[in-house]
């Protein structure tokens, strides 16, 4: 956090530690995410990126450490409550509701996380507009099991969007995609960001991170080793070591 920033942060993580038995997955992590920021999270495999996401979205309980979201401590809230407060996420390995169509997948989000009471027709409209925006319009009534990899990624993002998030966490949404598909997803994320949604993007594909992020943080072995502008972080000695594995 820079002193010049007067707005309070959207998400403030302070002194977060997470242990599994004897293994410390996160060690004293503190970071602030500003409203509307495009934030990149990188680090080698097993560095604690997904653990951090799980702590923010509520899949793991955290103690010690606090997680403040819009000035409210959410560390003890269940995941679905956090979703309703405005934290949405996609999964590293897509987790669609397999017995449903694409449209129904989104309807779950609209049914349970929509903030205000809206009519069924309005929900349908809102669902279709999200799907169109994601380029999934024609697939609305297709079973989730019949989607291609890139379509699954897009559907995950669409489902997250349907919860009307303030903060969207994209967990390696581009892994395993072709370069043209990577660009497609990246454009989608950029267009979402342009509509005042804060986005944390976890990614291994460096060009994507560089192009997308305003700020990048690098984790290694559960600790923050660098944080700053993309070029600063890329130039950091320790980041290069962590990635080259010296």
């Amino acid at each position: 956090m820079t002193l010049s920033d007067t707005r309070s942060p959207l998400l403030r993580i302070s002194s977060l530690t997470k242990r599994f038995g004897g293994f410390t997955a996160l060690h004293d992590v503190s970071v602030d995410i500003r409203p509307g920021e495009r934030f990149g999270l990188i680090g080698p495999n097993g560095s604690g990126k997904t653990t951090l996401i799980n702590c923010i979205s509520g899949a793991f309980r955290t103690e010690p450490g606090t997680v403040l979201f819009r000035d409210e401590d959410i560390a003890l809230l269940q995941p679905h409550v956090r979703t309703r407060r405005g934290i949405a996420r996609s999964f590293q390995i897509p987790r669609p509701f397999r017995s449903m169509t694409v449209a129904e997948n989104l309807m779950v989000a609209l049914d349970f996380a929509a903030h205000e009471h809206v009519s069924a027709a309005q929900r349908r409209d809102s669902m279709m507009s999200i799907l169109d925006q994601m380029g999934l319009g024609p697939k609305a009534n297709v079973s989730a099991t019949q989607l291609s990899q890139v379509e699954l990624r897009k559907m995950e993002l669409a489902r997250a969007m349907a919860t009307h998030p303030k903060l969207l966490i994209s967990d390696e949404a581009m892994a395993g995609l072709s370069s043209s598909e990577v660009d497609e997803v990246l454009d989608l994320l950029l267009s979402l960001a342009s509509r005042d949604i804060t986005i944390i993007m976890i990614e291994h594909i460096m060009q994507a991170v560089m192009r997308f992020s305003e700020r990048v943080m690098c984790l290694d072995a559960g600790r923050i080793i660098a944080i700053g502008s993309p070029s600063e972080v890329m130039a950091d000695q320790r980041v290069q070591e962590a990635y080259l594995g010296t």
Binding site: F20, G21, R98, S99
Partner: protein
């Protein structure tokens, strides 16, 4: 009516009885604990093994334990076939395998029950051997040899299985498949073959366990229903997939049951052991010696 003698006696008998429970649960600890197969027909296979042992004992005067060893290869093959069938029809298709698997194995259990009735009738059966019906005197305590046999067999099985799973290549592969099937596939091994082999082993163990079942008490064709709760209770309480844990959990169960049976109202015994299971599940869902942290 408290007496220290009785308590000591109850503990000794309870440990031995627990070993017996452990022996009949070890196969399930592999098939359900390591492979996640909801094998509710496990006790039906167990009773089937008992009847096979009975048949050999009755008609060819084979010692029940020897008979149990003799049928293990057959049960191993049976296990290979059973897993193949289960894999082709459930695991391969993916989601919901557990729910349908349960129904499938219930069906199999019923079929086995009826086949036993058609072949052997509904009367209860037992076997004869020198060690059945006599006891070993240890001061004031007398211990039935039957239970000592159960103790020896259970310990031997647990040690052998633990060594097999930790020392041999195949054993380690089985444990790996329980941890992460994908990783194993990436290493070029075929997880299905490994699981099939493991299920074969789990079923083969039932040969000996079936012999124990009929050594400890007479069997009848529908006895399997009484053991569904007990065996799953042991395996879950132990925490999935730990052989030593299975034995320890079984012993805890056996001791608790025997103490209640001897010292308090005997008719509460079943409630006590299952209340313990619920307690363990509520506090430590991964079981006492669970494989997950």
């Amino acid at each position: 009516m408290f007496s220290f003698d009785l308590l000591l006696d109850a503990v000794v008998i309870g440990v031995l009885l627990g070993c017996f429970y452990g022996a009949v649960s070890l196969g399930l600890s592999v098939s359900f604990g390591l492979l996640d197969v909801p094998h509710v027909a496990h006790p039906a296979f167990l009773v089937l093994a008992s009847y096979a042992v009975y048949f050999l004992n009755e008609h060819y005067a084979v010692d029940p334990l020897v008979a149990g060893l003799l049928i293990t290869p057959v049960f191993f093959l049976l296990g290979l076939v059973a897993y193949r069938l289960y894999y082709e029809t459930f695991e391969k298709r993916g989601s919901d395998a557990a729910v349908r698997g349960i129904a499938f194995f219930f069906g199999v259990a019923f079929i086995i029950e009826v086949l036993i009735i058609l072949q052997f009738g509904v009367d209860q059966r037992s076997v004869t051997a020198d060690y059945i019906g006599r006891a070993w005197r240890l001061g004031d305590i007398r211990i039935p040899y039957r239970l000592l046999v159960a103790f020896a067999v259970a310990t031997a099985l647990t040690v052998l299985l633990t060594l097999y799973l930790s020392r041999t290549f195949m054993g380690r592969a089985i444990r790996a498949v329980a941890q992460d099937q994908e990783a194993l596939r990436l290493m070029g091994a075929n997880p299905i073959k490994i699981k099939q082999w493991a299920f074969g082993i789990a079923t083969a163990v039932l040969g000996i366990a079936g012999a124990l079942l009929i050594i400890v008490a007479p069997v009848d064709p529908t006895l399997d229903r009484a053991y569904i709760g007990r065996t799953f209770c042991v395996v879950v309480m132990a925490g999935l997939g730990s052989m030593g844990g299975t034995l320890v959990a079984a012993i805890i169960l056996g001791v608790a049951e025997t103490i209640v049976l001897t010292m308090f109202g005997a008719s509460w015994a079943p409630a006590i052991s299952f209340a313990m299971l619920l307690g363990v599940l509520a506090v430590r869902p991964q079981g006492l010696f669970g494989r997950r942290s």
